[in-house]
């Protein structure tokens, strides 16, 4: 008597279950690719793309929005980059606040909120970070993605074992996807190098005088609450330091190391011949000592483990039960940008840039960044 094989019901059911899980998890992954809306204010003169400066980026995931604010009177040109690292939300939110609020009466301000657009489309593996966080505004919640420090590997893969960046520095392989290690870029290189090259082209073609790269870092990182400046910008950074301290913001200066290559504060100065400053604030959600990652950790910045670390003298910034909320980090960035613009005009009057509508740092500290975001359309 021949034995018939039983119908594989369990295998089919499990396969169907797997396909269902793929459908829903795939949608969650894909949601991270949808950009959060930005609503430029009335001061916007032109909205461009980075591919307008380097066509090699057209129709790639590296292309990104460039917002130009031009005054009636001639003055200097300032480039402000947010989202170089998409997991440093204060830099991105600060750039969005600028795009949605400022008007320029003299000179020009160019803002690139999502400098590494691809890095916003995924999150760091094994970090359990939330995909997004939201800020309350007068017209309801506005959401923002929390991306990764690196370009999405779907857009640029594989990483080399060792990466020799365009400035000749040897780095670990994954740094090939770190925009702030890829300057001055390569027109025929990796996608991230092309983005860096596009930004260098923007600097060259728009005759930028001062470049600001807005970042965040972990409270245990030594270069924190700091201005990292190219040596050509030492006087500018010093004046800014005094202005910020007069406003009550504790800030320190760090000279850009000459042997640390590929970073904005080094190569913008060396290759772009502009003044270059990188701004850092302390973000608990970015650090290694944090507890459970969550959207509230990003926005409220409270973490009991960092409180303990501060008590034991392990941090480079004060950290108490009130944490370091996003509104305070954004306010610090805005205060630094305002002080840098004022100092540029003081040092080189012909390069003065006059900006109106810049959210007051004190107001952002009191009411939160959401109070200065434009209503949803």
């Amino acid at each position: 008597m021949t034995k018939t094989k039983p119908f594989p019901w369990s295998s089919i059911l499990i396969l169907l279950g797997s396909l269902t899980a793929i459908f829903f998890s795939g949608q969650t992954f894909q949601a991270q690719h949808r950009p959060e809306p930005i609503y430029p204010g009335i001061g916007l003169s032109a909205e461009k793309k980075l591919s307008d400066y380097f066509p090699g980026l057209r129709n790639t995931k590296g292309d990104t929005e460039v917002y130009v604010f031009e005054g009636r009177d001639k003055g200097g040109t300032v480039l402000i980059l947010g989202g170089t690292h998409a997991n440093e939300p204060a830099g991105f939110v600060t750039a969005v606040l600028l795009v949605e609020n400022i008007r320029v009466s003299r000179g020009r301000v160019i803002v690139v909120p999502r400098a590494n657009a691809s890095a916003f489309s995924h999150s760091d593996p094994q970090e359990a970070n939330p995909q997004r966080f939201s800020l309350p505004t007068a017209s309801g919640e506005r959401w923002f993605r929390l991306g990764s420090r690196l370009t999405n590997p779907v857009d640029q893969w594989p990483d080399p074992t060792l990466y020799v960046n365009p400035a000749g520095q040897i780095l670990s392989g994954p740094e090939v996807r770190n925009l702030n290690r890829c300057y001055p870029g390569r027109p025929t290189g990796y996608l991230t190098e092309k983005v860096a090259y596009g930004i260098m082209e923007l600097i060259r073609r728009e005759h930028v005088d001062l470049g600001l790269d807005v970042h965040e870092s972990a409270p245990e990182y030594p270069v924190i609450n700091a201005l990292v400046f190219h040596e050509n910008s030492a006087d500018l950074a010093s004046l800014t330091l005094m202005a910020m301290q007069a406003e009550g913001y504790d800030i320190r200066l760090e000279a850009s190391p000459q042997n640390l290559r590929g970073l904005s504060h080094r190569e913008w100065g060396d290759f772009g011949h502009i003044k270059a400053v990188l701004i850092e604030t302390a973000n608990a959600s970015h650090g290694r000592l944090k507890g459970k990652p969550s959207a509230s950790l990003i926005v409220d910045g409270k973490d009991k483990f960092y409180v303990q670390a501060a008590r034991r003298g392990r941090l480079f910034v004060p950290f108490d039960e009130n944490g370091i909320p996003l509104k305070l980090r954004v306010a610090r960035h805005l205060a630094a940008i305002k002080a840098l613009l004022d100092s540029l005009g003081e040092l080189e009057p012909e390069k003065t840039v006059v900006v109106e509508g810049l959210p007051a740092p004190g107001g952002v500290e009191r009411m939160g960044a959401g109070a200065f975001l434009r209503p949803r359309r």
Partner: protein, 47 residues
Amino acid sequence: MRLVYQIIVLYLTACLTVYLFREKKVASQVGAGLILIMFLLRLLLVK
């Protein structure tokens, strides 16, 4: 390079699917099904 990657993942996905239908223990089938989720997401380059 991407095509090579996808061919490798496709081969492994096919092996897993065959294993899922050959294996008699339900616990092993569930294990294969869970791993299949990750392989198919990789195959479709969903990240």
